[in-house]
């Protein structure tokens, strides 16, 4: 595979994490415009762990997920009772605040004769752990898809477990879920934190793939895109968001000849698709039909 194809596949893998985090919240019935903020928290903390503190990548990723979950839990705690557009706007405000904080964040260190570290709007250069270890693009692709496979496995177990059913109940009707004895607030907080960790995982991998991150990478566009991926792909299974990302980036390559008109074609397609399938391609009914057919 030439380097370009690897690049596209890696991007699909990276965006799948943040799309899956938006999907997780959607199954719990909540719309978040803020997953890009936790994606950014993961990118910064992952980058700092490896480029500045010299920790190996796996430790960096774990730190990133911890910080992502913590940031998400903080936002989640103050917005537990909100629903619908209120919750969506609260997550949007939180993510925009994080983005502005990244712009104000200056912390640089001398490592190996160079100054390394976040420099506000100038961004954070030199996250080159992958290059210093001589990890080939193909190698990094396996790392990304290895973690993605692990995440998908977790989702598949979750969806078959009692917790998965409780989550769907919360998503369908929180009041009813509450009446059934489900601790709605605690479960919702856990879901928000888990989604934050997922987005942060994607962020840490993105930082190392791109070797450079800046606050503008984590603006509202990424948040709304990840929501769109989850919804276009389908809310029936974790493969929905993955399919959504593949469609967008795949169509991006497929419509090379559209060059200037890509979004006109793609935007129209998405709107029409949603008219036909408001809960996405792989929606619950399709998944149920698939499961019961065998």
């Amino acid at each position: 595979m030439d380097e370009y194809a690897i690049g596209v596949l890696t991007s699909i893998g990276l965006l799948s994490f943040v799309a899956a985090s938006a999907y997780l919240l959607l199954t719990a019935g909540e719309l978040s415009f803020g997953q890009q903020g936790f994606f950014g928290v993961g990118a910064y903390s992952g980058g700092i762990a490896t480029a500045m503190l010299g920790l190996p990548l796996p430790v960096g990723i774990l730190m990133a997920m911890l910080f992502g979950a913590a940031a998400a839990a903080l936002v989640g705690l103050s917005t537990l009772r909100l629903r619908g557009l209120h919750f969506a706007m609260a997550t949007l405000a939180a993510a925009e605040m994080l983005r502005i904080l990244f712009e104000l964040f200056h912390w640089q260190m001398e490592v190996g004769g160079e100054t390394v570290g976040p420099d506000g709007t100038q961004g954070f250069r030199g996250i080159r752990w992958v290059f210093e270890r001589g990890v080939e693009p193909l190698g990094f692709l396996f790392i990304v898809y290895g973690m993605l496979a692990f995440m998908v496995l977790c989702f598949v177990f979750l969806e078959r477990s009692k917790l998965g059913a409780t989550l769907r109940a919360l998503g369908e009707d929180p009041q009813l879920a509450g009446m059934l004895g489900i601790d709605v607030l605690r479960l919702k907080l856990a879901v928000v934190a888990a989604a934050g960790a997922l987005a942060a995982l994607g962020g840490a991998l993105f930082a190392h793939h791109n070797t450079y991150i800046e606050p503008r990478n984590f603006d509202i566009m990424l948040g709304v895109h990840s929501l769109a991926y989850a919804l276009i792909g389908g809310l029936g299974t974790v493969f929905g968001p993955l399919l959504g990302v593949a469609l967008d980036l795949g169509v991006l390559e497929g419509t090379r000849f559209f060059q200037g008109y890509r979004m006109i074609v793609f935007g129209g397609l998405v709107a029409l698709l949603l008219v036909w399938r408001p809960r996405g391609l792989l929606d619950e009914r399709f998944v149920h039909w698939l499961r019961t057919r065998r």
């Binding site: 008109y261 935007g267 129209g268």
Partner: protein, 288 residues
């Protein structure tokens, strides 16, 4: 003290455009119970159409009409494709569909005028009015005037006309409205078109007072409009106006006292704190 008053003036005049955007968003949200992410891009589409027309003629009134017409055209297109099919469906589908059309409208506009920045004929040639140590730009006064006029017109329509009764009925309970013989689809479309007309006018006033058009106008007006709507208590028209003016004041003062990068931060922080505290009036069922 002088700075405080001057900032308040600047804040109010900036807040006027936010208030207009907030009113447009609230009308659409009131009738459809959905946020329309394509509201800003539809405004940008109208403004770009007017900019394109301004290469050949400079008549301000004509350009305003083109901006309004362009935005209404884009708005109705969005309503038919993204909101009408999802009237009973999940809210997320309509919002994501409107996001897809946001991308589409922005690409239409940047294809029409690819450059990063375009000049636009000025709304008012003369300098600012100053009285004592303070000064106010005439363009901002015009926007404030437009905001007040729109509110009075909106208030009149909502409270004194048959159509107003139908709109408020649909906002209150679409099912009951349907059973009272009100064509909910037609009312929603007409309110959507009216909100787009307000948006088109707002877009024109903003680009004419800044004398420039950038591709960021779409995202900027969507964010400011939603902020104004939310700050004012979701779904209330006077709330949206108060929210817009408050947003203008917050930004003006935080920019002056804390520095430019804190301008947006404080606005988002206040919205987040308001939502977290979740006061009763925040989630008003009523739309006025």
């Amino acid at each position: 003290m002088i700075d405080f008053i001057q900032n308040t003036l600047d804040g109010l005049t900036a807040g006027a455009s936010y208030a207009l955007l907030g009113v447009g968003f609230t009308l659409i949200f009131g009738v459809l119970r959905r946020a329309n992410l394509s509201y800003g891009p539809a405004i940008m589409f109208g403004a770009y159409l007017a900019t394109w027309a301004s290469f050949s003629f400079k008549g301000l009134l004509l350009l305003a009409a083109i901006a309004v017409a362009g935005t209404v055209l884009a708005g109705v297109y969005v309503e038919r494709l993204c909101f009408a099919p999802h009237r009973r469906g999940p809210a997320a589908a309509a919002m994501v569909a409107s996001f897809a059309i946001w991308m589409q409208l922005e690409e239409f506009a940047t294809l029409l005028l690819p450059r990063h920045l375009y000049a636009f004929p000025a709304l008012y040639e003369g300098g600012p009015l100053n009285f004592g140590p303070f000064f106010v730009r005439v363009e901002s006064l015009l926007i404030l005037l437009a905001a007040v006029a729109t509110c009075i017109a909106g208030w009149g329509i909502l409270y004194a006309t048959r159509f107003g009764i139908a709109v408020r009925a649909v906002i209150d309970d679409p099912r009951a409205a349907e059973l009272s013989g009100i064509n909910v689809g037609a009312v929603s479309l007409r309110v959507f078109a009216a909100a787009s007309a307000i948006g088109g006018l707002t877009g024109f006033l903003i680009v004419a007072s800044h004398e420039q058009v950038t591709p960021m106008l779409g995202m900027w007006s969507t964010l400011k409009g939603m902020l104004a709507m939310m700050l004012g208590g979701l779904g209330s028209l006077p709330g949206a106006i108060a929210g817009g003016l408050a947003l203008g004041l917050i930004e003006a003062h935080s920019q002056w006292y804390l520095g430019p990068q804190f301008r947006d931060f404080i606005a988002y922080l206040l919205l987040f704190a308001l939502l977290a505290a979740r006061p009763r009036w925040m989630n008003t069922r009523s739309a006025y």
